[in-house]
């Protein structure tokens, strides 16, 4: 099944130039984020003489109200967004997979309790809770990652639970049960590896959501706060300068849109490859 998924994914990517473009955008932005210090100016260097200068050869994206190079701030903002996206995804995927697998495998009361907990968390207004938690905790990248990670694992848990329910009736799981393997071993050795493709699909879309949430929080002045560059907080300060410097609002917004779009589209292509692989 894993092999099937890989083959199908390769043909899907080859057939679909847009998916390749999405992948390319993610790779370029990630590389830019990793090697930001190598090729960009200091994002926090002030240059009062050239404040709010429009895009030019010297400053590709212009400068902001403190004369900081907006291009390097955008690249560093991408660093923040991608870091939050990936790390929050790891946390939420880990919790989601563990809770979902245990819930599906154990069944009975454990299953009911865990699933009602998932329902309860899904009935909470997530964004409001994030805003509240952010106000409690100190603003900063670590807390933002934790908050988003701990509040977005529920849908993965539901998917993994459903998948576990069907996998645990399959022969290879029944055999390993009969041969006396522990539940822990069955879950981690046999069940989870067999739904890796599904987990990858959810994780990809999860990154997109995490990036959107981080940017929204920072836009509210809560998540990542200045001077650390983040696309959301850059948009927050750009809001008041719409008349004089609209480009300040356009660049970070387009970068968020492109990144989230790429992850969402890639997730969809992965999902399509999954359908083919399973039939």
């Amino acid at each position: 099944m894993n092999n099937n998924f890989g083959n199908k994914l390769r043909t899907n990517l080859r057939k679909n130039p847009l998916a390749l473009l999405g992948l390319a955008i993610i790779i370029v932005l990630s590389l830019a984020a990793i090697f930001a210090p190598v090729f960009t100016a200091d994002p926090n260097a002030l240059d009062v003489k050239s404040r709010l200068a429009g895009p030019s050869i010297n400053h590709f994206f212009g400068t902001d109200d403190m004369g900081r190079d907006y291009f390097s701030r955008c690249i560093y903002g991408g660093r923040t967004s991608l870091l939050v996206g990936f790390m929050a995804m790891f946390i939420s995927t880990f919790i989601g997979v563990v809770v979902g697998a245990i819930s599906g495998f154990a069944g009975g009361l454990t299953d009911s309790v865990l699933m009602r907990l998932v329902d309860a968390l899904m009935s909470l207004p997530t964004f409001l809770i994030m805003v509240v938690m952010n106000a409690y905790l100190e603003s900063g990248i670590k807390n933002v990652i934790m908050i988003i990670g701990f509040l977005t694992w529920m849908s993965i848990a539901r998917i993994v639970r459903g998948e576990t329910l069907s996998l645990k009736e399959r022969e290879f799981v029944i055999y390993s049960r009969i041969s006396g393997q522990s539940a822990f071993k069955i879950i981690f050795r046999h069940i989870i590896p067999n739904m890796l493709p599904i987990i990858i699909v959810s994780a990809t879309i999860n990154i997109a959501q995490a990036i959107l949430m981080e940017s929204a929080l920072s836009f509210f002045g809560l998540g990542i706060v200045p001077p650390t560059a983040s696309w959301g907080s850059m948009l927050n300060s750009a809001q008041n300068k719409l008349i004089t410097a609209p480009y300040l609002a356009i660049f970070p917004g387009i970068l968020i849109l492109l990144t989230v779009l790429s992850f969402n589209y890639l997730g969809e292509v992965l999902r399509d490859s999954l359908k083919g692989g399973r039939s």
């Binding site: 009602r116 907990l117 329902d119 309860a120 968390l121 899904m122 009935s123 909470l124 207004p125 997530t126 964004f127 409001l128 809770i129 805003v131 509240v132 938690m133 106000a135 409690y136 997109a208 959107l212 940017s215 929204a216 836009f219 509210f220 959301g232 948009l235 750009a238 809001q239 719409l242 008349i243 609209p246 609002a249 356009i250 970070p252 917004g253 968020i256 849109l257 989230v260 779009l261 969402n264 589209y265």
Partner: protein, 315 residues
């Protein structure tokens, strides 16, 4: 009826869990709640009596049950900032949020059904490709950024639509309200329509490959007849559940939108409550929103049962 009873019990359980989460969240909050009542000239012993009268010396689980009992009787406590009843404040702000959410929801449903059907009828046609691209943008765009762009185009540049608030000062005419509603409603409608269109498109594609469509084709019915008489009904049925499920993201979206457009709804109230550390108000809004989401899901389930004869007959 058994199915409905189960659903009701589940919903009650979920709300019970939500109330525990909500209460825990407020207890984890930094700061001593009694300090909001303390004035500089109060003596230590007076503060101690105050603490006792506020019920803060009781064990946490007792405090929880007192709080829960109050909520069940409709008493959500008083704001720490302006001492007004929490429920009154929320109810005062609710209509604004309802206008925004309901208008965008209704428009999105009416746009997404015909578009989704048309896309699902002929997937990968030129029309479908354009709509798919648009709906990808719709689910990926940061709502607040889209709002800023609309403000830039229609308020700053063209100057034809107001960018903040719900009414021009002193005016309460309907036209004025609509003019203020257009931009925030457009933002939410775009995002919702993108989501709904994707669901209807994929459920239409599934329906088109069903046996009954093939049978009707062989009986000589035209594509249009099959699509609008039979596929339509089956394809939009799951929309009821989708609407129930998307209630949560809808509320989050409204919250962000209200903030961008200074729309005087509950979302804005919530953000103010958080920034002023007004815990009773935060808890009240969280609880009421959760109740709305759970009730919405329950309503979706009931409507689905009424709409789907297969489930109705098993009741």
């Amino acid at each position: 009826m058994k199915h409905l009873k189960n659903k009701l019990i589940q919903s009650a359980l979920v709300l019970f869990l939500v109330s525990i989460l909500c209460f825990t969240l407020s207890k984890l909050a930094p700061g001593d709640p009694v300090l909001t009542y303390v004035q500089p000239n109060m003596s230590e012993s007076y503060i101690a009596t105050l603490r006792e009268r506020l019920g803060l010396t009781k064990p946490v689980y007792v405090q929880y049950f007192i709080w829960l009992g109050n909520i069940l009787r409709g008493n959500f406590g008083y704001s720490l900032v302006n001492t007004r009843p929490v429920l009154d404040q929320i109810l005062q702000r609710l209509p604004a949020t309802m206008i925004l959410m309901a208008s965008s929801l209704i428009i999105s449903v009416f746009i997404s059904i015909p578009i989704g059907l048309k896309c699902g009828e002929k997937p990968s046609s030129a029309f479908d490709k354009v709509i798919s691209a648009l709906s990808y943008i719709g689910i990926s765009i940061p709502t607040y950024w889209f709002g800023i762009i609309l403000i830039y185009i229609f308020s700053v540049n063209m100057g034809i639509l107001p960018s903040i608030g719900m009414h021009t000062d002193g005016s309460s005419s309907f036209v004025d309200l609509i003019r203020h509603l257009i931009l925030p409603c457009a933002v939410m409608t775009f995002v919702n329509t993108a989501q709904f269109t994707r669901y209807i498109r994929s459920s239409t594609i599934t329906q088109m490959s069903q046996d009954y469509v093939l049978v009707q084709k062989s009986f000589g019915y035209t594509r249009k007849e099959i699509l609008y008489k039979n596929v339509l009904k089956n394809a939009i049925l799951p929309m009821i559940t989708v609407l129930g499920m998307s209630l949560q993201s809808l509320i989050s979206g409204a919250m962000i939108c209200e903030q961008v457009f200074s729309w005087p709804g509950t979302g804005q109230l919530a953000v103010t409550a958080v920034t002023t550390f007004d815990y009773p108000l935060i808890m009240g809004i969280t609880m009421l929103t959760a109740i709305m989401i759970v009730a919405g899901n329950l309503l979706a389930d009931v409507l689905y049962m009424i709409a789907d004869p297969r489930i109705r007959s098993s009741l």
